[in-house]
């Protein structure tokens, strides 16, 4: 009959000396009364004694010597395969590479970090690719149907502004949507960056103004340059556009834009830079009408310092009409001087 007080495991722990204090005493007291447990321990003792007869055989020193030689041989071989200096470096590199894989949580974290880094690099790379590929950018803007008109226009302006200085942008046309002679007109600019687009904005819009300046200076079509200069003039921002006007006036190879630029600067003839530019136009512009226009503008100033210029025109200009006009202006200046004196 089995004992219900102590389990087999408890008796084994007692046999192997794993019980201390009260627990040990309890078992000892119980064994005195319980025949089953006493028998179990008796058998356990006999079992132990049997196993004590077992002994581990002695291994020949020759075997040990052979094994030792093999161990040293393997160690030498390992070191020959990996030279000392490289061994340290390689061990470190392998250690570093292995470390993230040493535990599942590290491996998971490493994969997560790699994924996030990949996303960031991808985003930067894509952004860079888009900025360097106007066609892709234009397609992107056009294809985003979820964008509102305002958002699309805003993006277009950004794109136009970004590519303005490059050869990627071509201004196809400038339309005056709403006339305004005090700088409050409304303009539509058609442009092409691989793909044709248009954007609309007021004459106070910096992007629109930049597109107009770009068009005034670089557009291949003289009519477009004329239109751009006119729009800039209508913006009533002389100070900001002065350089463009003067550049067109002095350098444009077609008379149309130069005439338009001359008109734009006429009312600012008091400005020294404008006056200097008009003097150059008067003396050098190949177009007679333009020189005449410049002569009239300068003549109206009544500036005595311009007398030598007028004199040069009066005696050396290829056009007799201009000579006559210059002489008239000179005569007027003399008359005015006489009146004063």
């Amino acid at each position: 009959m089995k004992c219900k007080k102590f389990k087999r495991g408890d008796l084994l722990l007692y046999y192997y000396g794993e019980l201390n204090g009260v627990r040990r005493l309890r078992v000892e007291e119980h064994v005195k009364e319980c025949a089953y447990c006493r028998e179990f321990l008796k058998q356990q003792n006999a079992f132990g004694k049997l196993l004590d007869k077992d002994e581990v055989p002695q291994v020949s020193p020759l075997i040990l010597e052979r094994l030792n030689e093999q161990v040293i041989g393997r160690l030498t071989e390992e070191e020959r395969d990996v030279p000392e200096l490289k061994k340290g470096f390689l061990t470190k590199v392998i250690g570093i590479l292995y470390y993230p894989m040493s535990k599942p949580v590290y491996a998971f974290s490493s994969l997560l970090v790699m994924f996030v880094v990949g996303l960031i690099i991808g985003k930067i790379w894509m952004g860079s690719a888009i900025l360097n590929d106007p066609g892709l950018l234009a397609s992107l803007i056009e294809s985003r149907s979820e964008m509102s008109r305002e958002e699309r226009d805003y993006l277009k302006k950004l794109v136009a502004g970004y590519f303005l200085g490059s050869k990627e942008l071509e201004v196809k046309g400038v339309k005056e949507v709403k006339a305004g002679d005090s700088g409050n007109g409304w303009i539509q600019v058609d442009f092409k960056i691989n793909k044709e687009m248009n954007l609309t904005g007021g004459l106070d819009d910096p992007v629109i103004l930049n597109v107009l300046r770009y068009s005034a200076l670089y557009d291949r079509d003289p009519e477009k340059r004329v239109r751009a200069v006119r729009m800039l003039y209508l913006s009533k921002r002389f100070a900001e556009n002065k350089e463009v006007f003067l550049a067109v006036l002095l350098n444009d190879k077609d008379p149309g834009p130069r005439v338009q630029a001359l008109e734009a600067v006429t009312e600012f003839v008091g400005d020294e830079e404008v006056k200097e530019a008009l003097k150059k136009v008067l003396l050098n512009d190949p177009d007679e009408k333009i020189r005449m226009q410049a002569l009239d503008v300068l003549g109206k100033t009544g500036d005595r310092s311009l007398i030598p210029i007028f004199a040069l025109v009066a005696y050396r200009d290829s056009s007799e009409t201009l000579q006559m006009r210059a002489k008239e202006i000179l005569a007027k200046l003399y008359d005015r001087e006489k009146e004063k004196s």
Partner: protein
């Protein structure tokens, strides 16, 4: 640890393989005895012996002289045995027909027995014990050897094998139960 041992360990730590060879000569017998206890098979014991010393050399830089050198080596060997043979469940003895009598190769090195009858009885008993031990799983066997033959405390075994005390107890109880059922005819004789 003797000063000589300490000097050898320091030299081996600096990469001196002759010093390491001397260490192996000094501790080799104890290590091999232990390997035989764990494996009960000369072939596996040789493998375990070599793996242990290779790992000892590779990790020698980490030995800080805080324990006896043999204790440190023993710990390494116990871990190798426990983890390597955990996968194999049984030592290779049973799988190899060549090694069906494991003591042959060992005793063959020591010449012929003086008393053939006594030797035969002892051999029969050893083989019975061996056969019984070989039927244990690797974990059961290593825990049983540590407890029964080496008298280690359960807490100590758990620490050495990096598992819980409950696990050690479970392996021990199962090992004893299985061995008793297999060896009952042998020790019951002494009870009558």
């Amino acid at each position: 640890m003797s000063l000589e041992d300490k000097s050898l360990i320091l030299r081996a730590q600096a990469g001196d393989k002759r010093a390491f060879a001397e260490l192996m000569r000094r501790y080799g017998e104890r290590v091999m005895n232990q390997a035989l206890r764990f494996t009960r098979n000369i072939k596996d014991a040789e493998d375990l012996y070599q793996e242990t010393f290779l790992k000892v050399y590779r990790n020698l830089g980490g030995f800080r002289f805080e324990s006896e050198f043999y204790t440190w080596v023993y710990r390494i060997m116990a871990n190798i045995a426990f983890s390597q043979y955990r996968r194999r469940k049984r030592f290779s003895y049973l799988e190899s027909e060549e090694d069906s009598t494991p003591w042959d190769r060992v005793t063959a090195q020591n010449g012929c027995p003086e008393n053939p009858i006594k030797e035969e009885e002892g051999r029969r008993l050893k083989d019975a014990i061996y056969a019984a031990l070989s039927k244990l799983s690797a974990q059961q066997r290593i825990v049983f050897i540590m407890k029964h033959y080496e008298g280690k405390k359960i807490r100590e075994i758990a620490e050495l094998l990096e598992c819980s005390e409950g696990t050690v107890k479970r392996y021990l109880f199962r090992a004893v139960k299985k061995l008793q059922s297999l060896l009952k005819p042998y020790y019951e004789e002494s009870l009558v």
